[in-house]
Every structure is written in C-alpha cells, then in structure tokens.
Amino acid sequence: MTGRVAPGGGIFQALRAALAASRPAGLATVAAVDETAGAINVGSKLLVVPGAWAPAAPSSEAGVLAGTPGSEAGVLAEGAETLLGGFGDADLDRVVARDVRAAISSGLTVTRHYGPHGEARQMEVEVFIEVFATPPRMIIFGAVDFTAALALAAKLLGYHVEVCDARAVFATRERFPMADEVVVEWPDRYLDRTGRDLGPRDAVCVLTHDSKFDVPAVLAALRTGVGYLGAMGSRRTHDERLKRLLEAGAEPAQLAERLMSPIGLDIGARTPEETAIAICAEIIASRTGIKVPSLRRREGPIHRR
C-alpha cells in the first residue's frame, strides 16, 4: 500500500518530531473513496512540514525520512519542506500538498474533495486535512497583578504566554510561574525584536497603565500584524494615552480600527481574575466577529457605581 508503513511508522514519528521541534504541520488522510476512483486507500496519508526543517530522526526511521529509494513512504523533496507519504497518484499528491500548505497558513483543519487525480469540483476522494498549528502567542506588557490572572486564563486557552516589563524587580519568574517566558526589556524593543511574525491568531495586551511604557508598546504593536491589540486603563488613562499616541504620530483610523481600549468586554469585571476573563472573551469575540459589548463602545466610568 502506497503511503503506509509498518506499525509505529515513519509518518507518525515525523509528525511527533516536527511538533516536538515546535514546527507547524499538516496531515492529510483519505477518509472516503468512491468505488469508481480506483486504487486509493482509505487511511493513506500525506504529511507536510513547511519550511527548512531537519527531523532529529531515530536511527530506525532514518531510511524512511531520508527517502531511501523504494521505501514504502517515499519522501518527495520539494524546496525546503518535508513531504512524507502519498496516495499513489502524483497529481493527487501535488494538489493535496498545496491545500495542506494553505490549511496550515490559515490554521484551520478542513475536509476537501477531489477527483482521483486531484481534479477540482469532483467528489470521488474525500481528504481530511488536520492542521497541527503552533500555539498562538499572547504578549502581555506590564508585570502587575492583572498580568498573573491574564497569563493563567491565556494558558487555559492554549496561548504561548510571554510577560514583558522593563522593570527587573517586577518581571520575575517567581511572580509569573505560569508564563512561558518572562522578559525584562522595553516593550517596543521586545516587539521590534520578536514581533515580526505576529499574525491574526496572536494577541498583545498592554497592562502597564503608564504612558511612558504603553505608548511605545502600542506604537510598536501597530507596526506588527498582530490580530488583537488591547490596552488597559481608566477612561482618563485612555484619553491621555490616545492624546499621546496621536502626538507620537499614530494614525487615528488605525487606532480606531485596531486598538481595543479600554481593554475587555463590558461585563462588570472588577477583580484581576474577572478582568482576565473579560479580556479573553473580547479576544475570542474579535476572532469570531460576534458583536458583543466592549468597554470601548461605552461612555462613562468602567466600574459602575
């Protein structure tokens, strides 16, 4: 059977190695085949690991991963990416690999249909494409009590959480054991250094409450492709921050479109823990596009008397 290997086989091991190396991957599996489609097996697979990547292969799998001619799971060397397995039809393999790459980019697991040779608008072959995405990032600026609660809630949602503050006395591992990284650095420098790959799934939350730190942080975040950008503060802090952001050259339209400030949904949250839920709920709502009341849509004090 093309694309199938012995129990405990090479595709699973390669997938395991890619995820251990924090590489995104996509695994296409044939879920159903119409009897007219010929010799394509349900369960046959194609693994795609994009980008330059060399799996640290156990020696027993080295032959498979290196694409030994004649091995059952053939490796198709294409550019710098890893392709393992296949469906026994080069055209179908090529078309599915293309769709796996697209699915990895979008981060969405999908089911697609093809003709026996990868033809579009045909239904004979059903392929399930599971995306193994790297965790989205949440960068929290400001090492305050709200940060610890938000970091915990973000871990629950599967984020890779990075806490950053310029003040070494606050940004410590001891205070934020739940964070994946605790960094002492100016927020704008941290974003300029690590923010290049931020995308729609990622979030930047500015909790510093201090325009000395949060104005450069917001400006730096606006230069990235981050999907969610929020900044905490009272109405007065917000107004003051807005003024300083505009003075620093921020585009009013961009602020209106991208900056969620004051941060969070208007659910009457008071404690750090409740505020963390209000922030995470706003992040979910911004992803799903569901209209719910955000604090920034209302006038007046954040905490109703």
Partner: protein, 104 residues
C-alpha cells in the same frame, strides 16, 4: 490529536496497539469541530473525545474492531429516519468519524 500524543507515546511504550478516531465532518448542531480526536488502546483504554459524550462508547467498539482488522473506516452518527443510525447525538446533528489503526 496533538494533546493526545503523550498518551499515544505511553501506550506504544507499553507495547499496545492503538486506534485513532477523528471527527472529519459535522452537519447541523454538534459539540465538537472537525479534528476532535479520541484514541483507544487495544486494552480498551480511552483518551480524548469526539462528541459531548453521546457516541464515545460506540466509537470505542469501532476502534477495537479496527485494531483487529487493520482497516480504516468512517462511521456516521446522528439523528436520522434511517434505522442504521443506532447511536445519536442528543443535539440533533450528524457527525462523521474516521476510525483507523495508528500503524502509519
């Protein structure tokens, strides 16, 4: 499937055979999206889920059978007039589950 990899590793280390069941299609209301995964060992141990709990035991039966036969199959669970659908989702949707031996 990602969150179940440590469990799969453990079963393999214990010399067990494993089946993996993944939701590949949903229709109407369903508690879990495509990609929801359950894994079953040949000793009948279970991790993960493919629904809110409605079809899990039927999937275990299918998984054990798949481990024996070595053949992947798709199982459909849902509300229908068709008597073939013995197990349903209480929420009224239909879910298609790909059950396969983890031998790849």
């Amino acid at each position: 499937m990602k969150e179940l990899l440590p469990q799969i590793d453990q079963w393999f280390a214990e010399g067990k055979r494993v089946a993996v069941a993944r939701v590949v299609g949903v229709d109407g209301s369903s508690p879990r999206d495509p990609g929801a995964t359950m894994v079953v060992s040949d000793a009948g141990e279970v991790a993960g889920s493919v629904s809110g709990g409605c079809v899990e035991s039927a999937v275990v039966t299918e998984a054990l059978s798949v481990i024996e036969s070595g053949e992947a199959r798709v199982c459909t669970f849902g509300y229908s007039d068709d008597e073939a659908f013995a197990v349903g989702l209480t929420c009224g949707g239909t879910v298609r589950v790909l059950v396969e031996p983890l031998d790849w």
